[in-house]
C-alpha cells in the first residue's frame, strides 16, 4: 500500500475510533449523572430526617435501614447491571489496529499493540 493510502486509512480509522469513544464517554457520563443524582436524592430525602420526625421503630429491610437500601444498595446494584450492559453491548472492541504510517510516526512509536 502506498504511503498516501496508508495515511488515508489510518486517519479514517482514527476518526471512527474517536467517534466511538465519544459515544461511549457520553453514555458513561449519563450513567454517572443519573446514578449519583438518583442515589443522592433518595439518600437525602429519606435518610436526612429531623430527629423529632424519626419513627420510634425505624423501617428496616433485611435488617438494613430502608433509606440505605433504597438510596444505596438498590441504585448500586442497578448501576452494576447497567455497567454490565454497557460493557457487553455498547462498548465496542476497537477496530483492527492500523499501523501508524511511517511519516506520521513519533520518535518513540513502537507498534506492540493489537486491538
Amino acid at each position: 500500500m502506498s504511503n498516501d493510502k496508508q495515511r488515508q486509512s489510518f486517519l479514517i480509522h482514527q476518526a471512527r475510533h474517536v467517534r466511538q469513544c465519544w459515544f461511549e464517554a457520553r453514555i458513561v457520563f449519563g450513567i454517572i449523572v443519573v446514578a449519583l443524582t438518583v442515589s443522592s436524592v433518595i439518600l437525602y430525602t429519606q435518610g436526612y430526617v429531623l430527629p423529632e420526625q424519626r419513627p420510634e421503630q425505624p423501617t428496616l429491610i433485611l435488617g438494613i435501614p430502608a433509606w440505605v437500601m433504597c438510596g444505596l444498595v438498590v441504585p448500586w446494584l442497578a448501576t452494576i447491571g447497567v455497567t454490565w450492559l454497557f460493557a457487553l453491548f455498547l462498548m465496542k472492541d476497537d477496530e483492527p489496529y492500523v499501523e501508524v504510517p511511517k511519516d506520521m510516526r513519533r520518535s518513540d512509536s513502537h507498534s506492540t499493540g493489537r486491538d
Partner: protein, 543 residues
C-alpha cells in the same frame, strides 16, 4: 486512595491490638507469611520477562499485555489503600449507617475509571509509544513546559502520598510483629522497594492482583461471621439505634434519637476533645452535613479517574475486550468491598464493642478478635497490608517513570542506551524508596496537609487537562497549563483561606474541580487552535 487520610489520621493512635491478636494464636500469621513469600516469588518470575524485551516498555507498562483480571484487580488494589480496610471501617463504626451517603459515589467509580478514558488512552499510547500520561500530553501539544509541569506535580504529590503509605505500612508491621515503628518502617520499605525495583510494572501488577484477591476475601468472609455473632442484621441495627453518642455527651449536647441510623449522623469526633468546652454553649456539629456528603459523592465517584497511580493500567492492557471484562469484574468488586465493611462494622455495637471516641482505629482488630476464626483473622491482617503495599509499589513506579522518562529523557533530552535506561530506572525507583523512607522516619509536620489533600488536589488539578487532551480538539497548551496551575492554586487558596466556610461546608475539591474545567476552556478559547496536521493524528479525518 480516597481513604488514605483516614488511616494517616489514626496512625498516631497505634495500638497493640493486632499484636495481641497474633499472640492469641500464632497460626494467624501463616496467611500473612504465605502472602509475603508469594509477593517475592512473583517479583522473581516477573523479572524474567525483562530479558529480551524492550526494557522501558516492559518495566513501565509490562509490554501492554494485561488481561481483564490483572487490569481489574491491579487497578482496584492500587486505588484502595490501607485506609479502605482500616480507616473506612472505623468510620462506619464511629458514625453508623450515615456512612452510606459518604460512600455512595463509589457506585460509579468503576465505570468512570475505566469506561471514560481507558480505551482512548490505551489506543493513543500504542500509537505514540507513550509510556506515561505525561508522554501523551507532551506529544499532543509538542510542549515541554506542559510535560515538565505535569511531571513535577506528579512527582511531588505522589512522593508525599508515598510517605503516608510508608507510615501506614510501618504501623501495621509494628502492630503485627510487636516491634518498634522504626524497625517496622525499615522492614516495610526494604521489602516493597526490593520487589518493585526488581520486578518492575509486571511484578507490581501481578502482586496487586493477588493483593486484590486477599483484600476482597478478607472483608467479604467476615460478613457472615459478624451477622451470625450479632444474632442477625435486624437485631444488630435495632441495637445500634439505641447507641448513645459519646461525643455529644462529652460536649454537653442532647443526644438525638437514632443518630447512628440517619443522616447527618452523630457528632463529629474531635481528637483533642477533653469534655470541658469553654465559652458559649456548644452547637451541634454532626459528621456528615448534606454539603459534605455531596462533596464526597462527587469526589469518590470521579476523583479517582485520572489518578497518577491508576493511569499506568490504562496504558498496559491488551485490548478493548480485556477492558470490557475488567469493567464487569470491577463493578461488583467495589460493591462487595465497601458494602461488606458497612455491614460488618454496623454489627460491632451489638457485639459489645464500645470504643471511646478517637479510638475507632481499633475497630477492625477488635472485630477480628470477636468473631473471626484464626485463619480469617490472618487474612484480615494481610488485607490492609496488601492494600498499602499495592498502592506503594504503583506509586514508586509512577515517580520513577516521571523522573526517568518525563524529566530526564524528555525534558532534558538525554538519549540513553538500553543499559543506562535499565540502570537509571532501577536506581531512581530504589532512590525514591530511600527518600520516602527518610521522610517517613522523621514525619515532617509540614508535609501532613499535603497528604490529607492529595486525592482532592490531584483530582482538581489533573482531571480536566487530561480529559480535554483526550477528547477535545480545541484544547491548547495554554488551556491545559491554565487548568493544571489554576486548579491547583484555587484548591490551595480554598484550603488556606476557607472563604466560604461560613456559608456552606463544601470540600475544596468542589471549587477547584469546576474552576479547572473553566480555566481549560477559557485558556484554550483565547489562544490559537492547533494546526489540522497535528490534530489529524489524534482525531483522524472524516471519510
Amino acid at each position: 486512595m480516597y481513604d488514605s487520610l483516614l488511616l494517616l489520621g489514626q496512625v498516631s493512635e497505634t495500638t497493640s491490638k493486632w499484636y495481641a491478636l497474633t499472640q492469641r494464636d500464632p497460626a494467624i500469621l501463616i496467611p500473612f507469611i504465605g502472602y509475603m513469600l508469594a509477593v517475592f516469588a512473583i517479583a522473581i518470575i516477573a523479572h524474567r520477562y525483562q530479558r529480551g524485551a524492550e526494557f522501558e516498555v516492559e518495566y513501565y507498562v509490562a509490554g501492554r499485555s494485561f488481561g481483564p483480571w490483572v487490569l481489574a484487580l491491579s487497578w482496584v488494589a492500587t486505588l484502595a489503600s490501607g485506609g479502605s480496610f482500616l480507616g473506612y471501617p472505623s468510620l462506619v463504626y464511629s458514625y453508623g449507617w450515615t456512612i452510606a451517603f459518604w460512600v455512595a459515589g463509589s457506585m460509579v467509580t468503576a465505570i468512570a475509571g475505566l469506561g471514560l478514558v481507558g480505551k482512548r488512552i490505551n489506543r493513543l499510547a500504542r500509537q505514540t509509544g507513550a509510556l506515561t500520561l505525561v508522554d501523551l500530553l507532551r506529544d499532543r501539544y509538542s510542549n515541554d513546559t506542559i510535560g515538565s509541569v505535569y511531571a513535577v506535580m506528579i512527582v511531588i504529590l505522589t512522593t508525599v502520598y508515598l510517605m503516608a503509605q510508608f507510615i501506614a505500612g510501618a504501623v501495621i508491621l509494628q502492630s503485627i510483629l510487636g516491634t518498634s515503628y522504626r524497625m517496622g518502617l525499615i522492614l516495610f520499605a526494604v521489602s516493597v522497594v526490593a520487589y518493585t525495583t526488581y520486578g518492575g510494572f509486571r511484578a507490581v501488577a501481578w502482586t496487586d492482583t493477588m493483593q486484590g484477591i486477599v483484600m476482597i476475601v478478607g472483608v467479604v468472609l467476615l460478613v457472615p461471621f459478624a451477622i451470625h455473632a450479632a444474632g442477625g442484621m435486624r437485631e444488630a441495627t435495632t441495637r445500634l439505634a439505641e447507641r448513645p453518642d459519646p461525643t455529644a455527651q462529652l460536649r454537653g449536647l442532647e443526644t438525638r434519637q437514632h443518630d447512628y441510623l440517619y443522616g447527618p449522623g452523630p457528632e463529629k469526633v474531635v481528637q483533642e476533645l477533653d469534655g470541658g468546652e469553654q465559652g458559649p454553649a456548644p452547637t451541634a456539629n454532626p459528621y456528615l452535613p448534606l454539603s459534605l456528603a455531596l462533596s464526597m459523592v462527587l469526589l469518590r465517584g470521579i476523583g479517582g479517574v485520572l489518578m497518577p497511580t491508576a493511569v499506568p493500567r490504562m496504558l498496559a492492557f491488551r485490548d478493548t475486550r480485556a477492558l470490557r471484562r475488567a469493567l464487569m469484574l470491577l463493578a461488583p468488586y467495589l460493591f462487595l468491598m465497601y458494602g461488606s465493611s458497612l455491614i460488618t462494622m454496623n454489627c460491632a455495637w451489638s457485639l459489645g464493642l464500645d470504643l471511646a471516641p478517637g479510638k475507632s482505629d481499633q475497630a477492625v482488630p477488635e472485630m477480628a478478635k470477636l468473631v473471626a476464626p484464626a485463619w480469617l483473622a490472618g487474612v484480615l491482617i494481610a488485607a490492609p497490608f496488601a492494600a498499602v503495599m499495592s498502592t506503594v509499589d504503583s506509586a514508586l513506579l509512577v515517580v520513577s517513570g516521571s523522573v526517568v522518562r518525563d524529566l530526564i529523557q524528555k525534558t532534558f533530552k538525554l538519549k540513553l542506551s538500553q543499559f543506562f535506561q535499565r540502570a537509571l530506572a532501577y536506581f531512581v525507583t530504589a532512590a525514591t524508596g530511600v527518600l520516602v523512607l527518610t521522610l517517613a522516619l522523621s514525619q515532617p509536620q509540614f508535609l501532613i496537609p499535603l497528604v490529607i489533600h492529595y486525592t482532592g488536589g490531584a483530582a482538581s488539578v489533573l482531571f480536566w487537562p487530561s480529559l480535554a487532551t483526550l477528547y477535545w480538539k480545541r484544547a491548547t497548551a495554554a488551556g491545559i497549563l491554565s487548568g493544571l496551575l489554576g486548579g491547583g492554586c484555587i484548591y490551595i487558596a480554598v484550603v488556606l483561606f476557607k472563604p466560604f466556610d461560613g456559608i456552606v461546608n463544601l470540600h475544596p475539591f468542589m471549587y477547584a474541580f469546576p474552576a479547572s474545567a473553566i480555566l481549560v476552556g477559557i485558556g484554550s478559547w483565547l489562544t490559537a487552535r492547533q494546526g489540522d496536521e497535528d490534530l489529524e493524528f489524534y482525531f483522524g479525518r472524516d471519510e
